[in-house]
């Protein structure tokens, strides 16, 4: 297990050494969203009864920051090491494909949680938050970060340059995150877009995460959890198969 632990520690150290960019910067960016949207919409939008818009927004922004940073962690680390050739330092040692997988996903989860915690704590400065079901909060946070960590691995395995990598980030991850109900409840959408949103797994992550705070959600949290867990499992199995085959790593 020393190999796995070392790779995990290396990945943690990698983002920690540039924490201004990897932690502080996303926290500040997310707080700007909070500042602007809550200022503009606080008096005009009421999503859940008894919950002000700023409080509604905080869990969505926390989850959005966690998802984007978990994705960024595994994807940027792998694509950089693929591009500059230093990937061979982890391909030459006797690390198993599953150790590779666990280390990268676990580091992504840690980065996602650290950024999420930063955004959450700063959000408390804007508004008081209830914590109705802390275990649901934790479950959706962990699964969300893990899912995006895994997606980061798949994308960086597939991408052959930074351009392709940024295409995945900008054309898949960002739209899926923004259209998942961070800023609104899907019940406020027309029926067609409500239907479409239900095919977006990020929606269940944000909805379930929000349930943990307010005890209210658009769909049953158990149903959301099962959808999310299935997605994580399926993506993980696919990634493990790719890593085992050496896809775009071992020529």
């Amino acid at each position: 297990m020393t190999g796995l632990w070392t790779l995990f520690y290396k990945e943690i150290l990698r983002f920690w050494k540039v924490s201004l960019q990897t932690i502080l910067s996303p926290v500040v960016t997310t707080l700007l969203y909070l500042l602007i949207f809550s200022h503009v919409l606080e008096e005009h939008v009421r999503v859940y009864p008894g919950v002000n818009y700023t409080a509604f927004l905080v869990p969505g922004l926390v989850m959005m920051a966690m998802l984007q940073n978990a994705f960024a962690n595994s994807s940027s680390s792998l694509i950089q090491s693929k591009m500059n050739g230093s990937i061979l330092f982890i391909l030459l040692p006797p690390l198993a494909y599953w150790e590779f997988f666990v280390a990268y996903v676990a580091a992504s989860v840690v980065r996602g949680l650290v950024v999420g915690l930063g955004v959450g704590l700063a959000g408390l400065w804007f508004t008081a938050m209830p914590f109705s079901h802390p275990l649901w909060i934790l479950a959706f946070a962990l699964l969300g970060c893990a899912m995006l960590g895994v997606m980061g691995i798949i994308s960086s395995l597939w991408a052959e340059n930074y351009d392709q990598m940024s295409a995945v980030q900008n054309f898949i991850i960002v739209p899926l995150t923004f259209l998942s109900g961070v800023f609104y409840s899907i019940n406020s959408l027309p029926p067609f877009w409500q239907g479409v949103s239900r095919f977006n797994p990020f929606f269940y992550l944000i909805d379930g995460f929000r349930y943990g705070f307010f005890g209210t959600s658009d769909v049953s949290p158990l149903f959301g959890l099962s959808i999310v867990a299935t997605c994580v499992l399926a993506l993980s199995l696919a990634t493990l198969l790719l890593l085992k085959s050496g896809y775009k790593l071992r020529k």
Binding site: T2, T6, L7, Y9, K10, L13, F89, P93, K251
Partner: protein
Amino acid sequence: MLPAIEISQVHKRFGNVQALRGVDLSIQQGEFFALLGPNGAGKSTLINILAGLALADSGHLKVLGHDVRTDYRAARRSIGVVPQELVYDSFFTVREMLKFQSGYFNLRDNNAWIDELLESLGLADKADAYVRSLSGGMKRRVLVAQALVHKPPVIVLDEPTAGVDVELRQSLWAFIRRLNREGHTIVLTTHYLEEAETLCSRVAMLKQGEIVALDTTANLLNRYAAIQVSVRLDPPRLPDVLQPLLCGQEGEEFKLSLKHHAELENVLYALREAGIRVVELEVSKPDLEDVFLKVVQS
């Protein structure tokens, strides 16, 4: 005793290019072995497959009896590879890189050996410097240290002295020689053929994915490399009996090609018999470059 490296019938194709065509090779433990060939001959492909960086289409490769696919953990613990490209992770210092590399090989407390490596490779005062801040030669030393961090019994160096200054080259070879004396098997690819000739006891030459020559360095030199003798004669003419040995003439200087040093006595005898005096004589030593050119161009 198990061979250090055993390669049998290895084929590898990249698209339309057949990089390796049924390579067979066995390298014994303790050997200092050279793998030579022109660019694109398949040397790096073979090393990459051996190290697990690439996968063979067919064939088997073993390191100290461990198959590189089915028993990859033991195979990779047995081999250390110094890659050709100057690669580094810009986030970390030299010592951090060596500690990580130790950890990947399941070595928890490897500080004593890391310190020894840093000292031996002249990196001690750069231990806490970021690898990205080092010169090319220093980065190369870090790559060597990384390859040796788990004390592999088999060490593969892919063009380790490319673009490296003379001082570093000398100190690197002194260190590698020491490792070889201590029992490590060394496999080397290089474009500096005099390095291979000086250091390696056995040589394989690859051409278009096939091994076209495999023997001890001495045998290859004897078999392929002619000894060239340049003579100035008085009077300036070559007796008929020596005409078959003539391989060139520059003014009054005759160039003769001999297979063995022993033939020189016959040449001198023939000249004496013909009443011709030797004014000037120069014997050039055969080198691996001659062998390489003959094998590759044949």
